[in-house]
Amino acid sequence: MSAFRQGIEATIPALRRYARALTRDAEVADDLVQDTLVRALRSEHLFHGGDIRSWLYTILTNLNRNRLRSLARRPPLTVIGDDDAPDMAGPEAGSRDIERALASLVEDQRAALLLVVLEGLTYREVAEVQGVPIGTVMSRLARARAQIRAFLDDERPALRRVK
């Protein structure tokens, strides 16, 4: 197997984790990962070295943005409910809160936060994935954290904007 294919394969677990947190739905997430892999396999000629992981995160992030856009064209949008995740019961009630808190974020803020805290990308790498300056990544991160904190504090989205 080529290094390219090996690099893709080694990233699948992390892509599934990222997609799940991004969409909060197991089936949608795995469809997204599959689409990402298919596009990557077909686009080997577009990959000019560098970090294959970042490249795959970029594809997945863009596909999810397209997905949300095409769904949004048909209002009202039904978000798939929590599926059969077994960990929704009592002791893990906090996991439900964090899902709802993540759901309350703007997509670009959610992606920036997850790429940093869950996927361990550097600010520079996230800037490349999202195609924006590092300063924009940092402000997305700051807003995401403020929003989650406010959400968890009072269980509803903050209306005030934390500077």
Partner: protein
């Protein structure tokens, strides 16, 4: 030249917990947090968020990789964007009449039975359940004729399941173009006018358990039994829809298919 340390910025607080802070600012940030309780609380809250997010999603990366992600298989079959493309096609169809089918036909490759069938079925559901005067071609008053006709066209013995137990009455049915040729389409409604549809056609996909799909306002359960695929669609929640699908499933027993 300046004795006093530079004030710490919010960006630096983020960089501090994300491991992005230059080493020579570390001491300054830690001293700042000692002296500024508000900022120390913020940093603690952000750290707790990180822990919660990792606790919630971290384990997914340690699960075994599902077979669907086998790269050799993906190279051969792909998914060819039908999933999201079909959502866009459906939007085009609703807005622009026949355009949707045109886009669909342009996709000659139909690699995924589940996606293809459910999205076709949801298209049909969305299109016909809003019809007031002509939701079906053949009404329930001619149910026997309907079932006989559709069975002949799809090439296997159908039946229109009895869903009275769930308060659903047969409205009638239609013949539709399906992924593999002819498809049969039954429509049901309850007293409040909620409509559910059953879509069925030949399939070469292997038998499956019931699978769930959502497109726009509509959701669907899909399964393959023998060489026939079924999709039950509705705008209900998952639990309600699964009751309808289960009732239909029980009545589409392949052992009784083809006996009459």
């Amino acid at each position: 030249m300046n004795e006093r340390p530079l004030p710490v910025t919010e960006d630096e607080l983020h960089a501090y917990i994300d491991g992005e802070l230059p080493a020579d600012r570390r001491g300054a940030v830690e001293a700042w947090l000692e002296a500024h309780q508000d900022d120390a609380n913020r940093v603690a809250a952000w750290r707790a968020q990180i822990e919660t997010i990792r606790a919630r999603y971290g384990a997914i990366a340690t699960e075994p990789i599902p077979a669907r992600f086998d790269l050799d298989r993906l190279m051969r079959n792909g998914r060819s964007w039908r999933g999201w493309a079909a959502v866009a096609a459906l939007a085009a169809f609703v807005v622009g009449g026949a355009a949707g089918w045109g886009i669909r036909d342009a996709t000659s490759e139909r690699p995924n039975g589940f996606q293809t069938f459910t999205l076709d079925a949801i298209d049909a559901h969305t299109l016909y359940t809003v019809e007031v005067r002509h939701p079906v071609e053949v009404p329930a008053s001619e149910a026997d004729h309907l079932v006989q006709w559709l069975s002949k066209r799809v090439g296997y013995q159908l039946r229109a399941p009895d869903l009275q137990r769930l308060g659903l009455k047969l409205v009638g049915g239609r013949l539709l173009p399906g992924p593999t040729g002819a498809a049969a389409f039954f429509m049901y409604e309850n007293v409040s006018g909620e409509r559910f549809t059953i879509y069925s056609a030949r399939s070469n996909a292997p038998d499956t358990a019931m699978r769930y799909n959502v497109s726009g306002k509509c959701s669907a359960f899909y399964w393959v039994d023998g060489d026939v695929a079924y999709v039950v669609s509705g705008q209900a929640d998952r639990e309600q829809l699964s009751k309808v699908a289960t009732a239909a499933y029980e009545q589409f027993d392949p052992r009784t298919r083809g006996n009459s």
